[in-house]
């Protein structure tokens, strides 16, 4: 894509001068988010930690309700508060804590630096405007481009995400696109202003497998081309294995294991990761017995003390059932697991 250098206003320049370009693109430290509900405080995110390195694809994996989307929304600054409340933590973009920024700077980051793709593409697009108008709007608003120039940009973007006959389709409304095409439009919108960081929240969950393969392939290709850092939120261990460099496994709002992808699949160090890997069937294997993870995911208003996973864990001993929660033990360089018995788990 060719973008003419945007005109920098003094406030933009001031914001940019704070950034430490030697710091990682994103770092989340000890993030806590609660929701005020009628049945008490729901602890959705409980000490989330991760570092996203330059050009890296980091998967955030976890089951429904484990706090993946809330983490993403906290990073984007789009949590509904109330009921949500960030009670602790830092979210560092190039060394600058986003939680301490003014609303104006926050918007600036959202527009130009960190973009997000949502799970449900149809509801994220406005049904009453053409796809071309919505794409072009970004350039009119944030780049001060003319109507004509922005439309040309929109066509260029549709081309980039491989929408056939982009010149004609640019005038279509969202409902005239298939699910896969809409998701590709969302990718185009997210990439329009060339963000450094892209957060994709279950970008293919609603799509059929053949379309999922198209969209994931496209996303990886664009990430490489634009040297973006990518956070891929998913519950699909297959998708992670295909595209991610590293992975943060979440359980009850916390990272229970963080490791390079190859290591975690070969030798999981946390009982939850291990159990997940043993419980999913594989298309390339027949007849393996599916291990069952007993019990249910935790209720967030009443998270078990000690290790939140202990009621479902086959390695649990008495010290797992009492505070404090297991710290992040160093399993290897670049690798941590929040289990007192990780040595036993990794060897078994």
């Amino acid at each position: 894509m060719t973008t003419e250098a945007p005109v920098k206003s003094p406030s933009t320049a001031r914001f940019l001068s704070q950034l430490d370009m030697t710091a990682p693109p994103l770092e989340v430290r000890n993030l806590h988010v609660e929701f005020h509900t009628t049945s008490g405080e729901a602890h959705a995110v409980n000490g989330m930690n991760f570092v996203l390195s330059q050009g890296e694809t980091r998967a955030i994996l976890g089951e429904s309700g484990s706090g993946k989307s809330v983490t993403a929304q906290a990073i984007m600054g789009i949590l509904d508060s109330p009921p949500a409340k960030i009670t602790h933590g830092e979210i560092l973009y190039r060394g600058v804590d986003l939680l301490k920024l003014s609303d104006e700077d926050r918007r600036r980051v959202r527009a130009n630096h960190i973009a997000m793709i949502f799970q449900d593409a149809l509801s994220a697009l406005n049904p009453v405007f053409t796809v071309g108008f919505q794409l072009g709007e970004l350039f009119r608003k944030h780049r001060g481009m003319s109507r004509q120039a922005s439309k040309a940009k929109a066509i260029e973007l549709l081309d980039m995400v491989k929408i056939p006959a982009a010149k004609q389709r640019v005038n279509d409304f969202p409902h005239q696109f298939s699910g896969g095409m809409r998701q590709r439009v969302m990718i185009a919108m997210a990439l329009a202003l060339e963000p450094e960081i892209l957060i994709a929240d279950e970008p293919t969950t609603a799509l059929d497998v053949t379309v999922q393969a198209q969209v994931m392939g496209l996303l990886s290709e664009l990430q490489r081309e634009h040297n973006m850092s990518l956070i891929l939120i998913t519950h699909d261990m297959g998708v992670v294995a295909d595209v991610a460099d590293s992975i943060s496994v979440m359980y009850a709002g916390r990272v229970v294991e963080d490791a390079p992808v190859a290591d975690i699949y070969a030798r999981p160090a946390h009982p939850y990761t291990k159990a997940l890997l043993e419980s999913i069937p594989r298309v390339d294997l027949k007849g393996q017995e599916l291990a069952v993870i007993k019990g249910l995911p935790p209720v967030l208003t009443n998270i078990p003390p000690g290790c939140a996973f202990h009621p479902r864990c086959r390695y649990a001993k008495d010290n797992c059932k009492v505070p404090p929660e297991p710290p992040h033990y160093d399993v290897d360089v670049n690798r941590v697991a929040a289990c007192h018995y990780w040595r036993e788990v990794i060897e078994s």
């Binding site: 089951e63 497998v209 519950h235 295909d242 298309v283 390339d284």
Partner: protein, 343 residues
């Protein structure tokens, strides 16, 4: 489909050229039919006692419509369904109830398929209202408790309401209800799709255990090809209302011959980073055509990399083709290894 010898029992369910077309109408006062959605368009399947037939295919290919036809929630436009040798279109309405008792359904969504105002006991026992002959009235509660127990729930929770259970537990309630009338066949439409991965295995294992215990035959509908491989003995791959390939689990997953099945299988991500870049991934171009206006000849031809002129002109019948032992509906059917690493 040919009658190959099988380790399973006799054929309990069979469809012949089954069709369901939904009329497309135009106009408000004077409705005029302008076409039809060919949701199910000539499906032949066979199911034996104790066997699991997996039905796979992408959204909109007609899987749920097929399920609804099989359990009688919908009437076919054409073709027939044979249940234990009886053609359902010829069964008198008086006998229909007792014939239908043999085939029950488990729904996809455990969150909406149970009536929120009924207790679990009432939900599971409801089929006895329609079929009072199955269990004498005073034995009902005992039977409901037995069913609850059978699916691994606590029988003391008989008076609880659906919202007091988790998704996986609700799906068990749906299964208990389907078992109430001692059916021989269960049609399960995406029974684990809405469940968390850590809960899926619990339900899949339960279905397998019940099958062993009661010799049940399953139609297991899913878009997750990994789950289907795990549970199915035979598989039917559907595309735009038709079965394009069918065979046993090994034939479909290791020796698939239809380009669509190959593309579908190759697109399934495998949870093993060591295989990254080593798999033969077929990325399809274009979108699924509308079932109201399917392409001429082979319905897959608009996305198929092998398509030739004949594909637009002649519809390839589902039949066993040279070089392979199972039926495939492709003029150029040819084996291709698509799951696992390319050797």
């Amino acid at each position: 489909m040919t009658d190959t010898p099988s380790k399973f029992g006799e054929v309990v369910l069979e469809t012949k050229d089954l069709r369901k077309h939904y009329p497309l109408t135009q106009g408000i006062v004077f409705k005029k039919q302008v076409g039809a959605v060919r949701a199910v368009d000539g499906v032949n399947i066979q199911l034996r006692r104790g066997e699991t037939l997996g039905v796979v295919g992408e959204s909109g290919c007609g899987k749920s419509t097929l399920a609804r036809l099989l359990v009688g929630l919908e009437q076919p436009t054409d073709g027939s369904i044979m249940l234990k040798g009886k053609d359902l279109s010829k069964v008198s309405s008086r006998d229909m109830r007792s014939v239908r008792r043999n085939i029950q359904m488990v729904m996809q969504d455990p969150y909406t398929s149970l009536n929120p105002r009924m207790t679990v006991g009432d939900i599971i026992g409801e089929p006895f209202d329609i079929h009072p002959e199955v269990v004498p009235k005073k034995g009902r509660i005992a039977r409901v408790r037995e069913l609850i127990d059978l699916v691994g729930l606590n029988a003391d929770h008989i008076n609880r309401y659906p919202h007091q259970f988790s998704g996986g537990q609700r799906q068990r309630i749906g299964i208990a209800r389907a078992l109430a009338l001692n059916p021989e066949i269960i049609v399960a439409d995406e029974p684990v799709s809405a469940l968390d991965v850590s809960i899926q295995a619990q339900v899949v294992n339960l279905l397998e255990r019940l099958q062993d215990e009661f010799g049940l035959a399953y139609i297991f509908i899913a878009h997750d090809l990994s789950v289907v491989r795990h549970i199915a003995d035979r598989v039917a791959v559907m595309y735009l209302g038709k079965v394009v390939e069918t065979g046993n689990e090994d034939e479909i997953y290791e020796h698939t011959t239809h380009p669509y099945s190959q593309a579908l299988l190759s697109a399934v991500p495998v949870p093993d980073p060591a295989l990254r870049g080593l798999r033969d991934q077929i990325i399809l171009e274009g979108d699924v055509p509308s079932p109201a206006n399917p392409p001429s000849g082979c319905r897959f031809r608009t996305r198929c990399w092998k398509a030739q002129e004949i594909c637009a002109q002649e519809e390839p019948p589902l039949m066993v083709r040279p070089g392979s032992e199972h039926p495939s509906a492709c003029h150029f059917a040819e084996e291709r290894q698509v799951v696992g690493a390319v050797s």
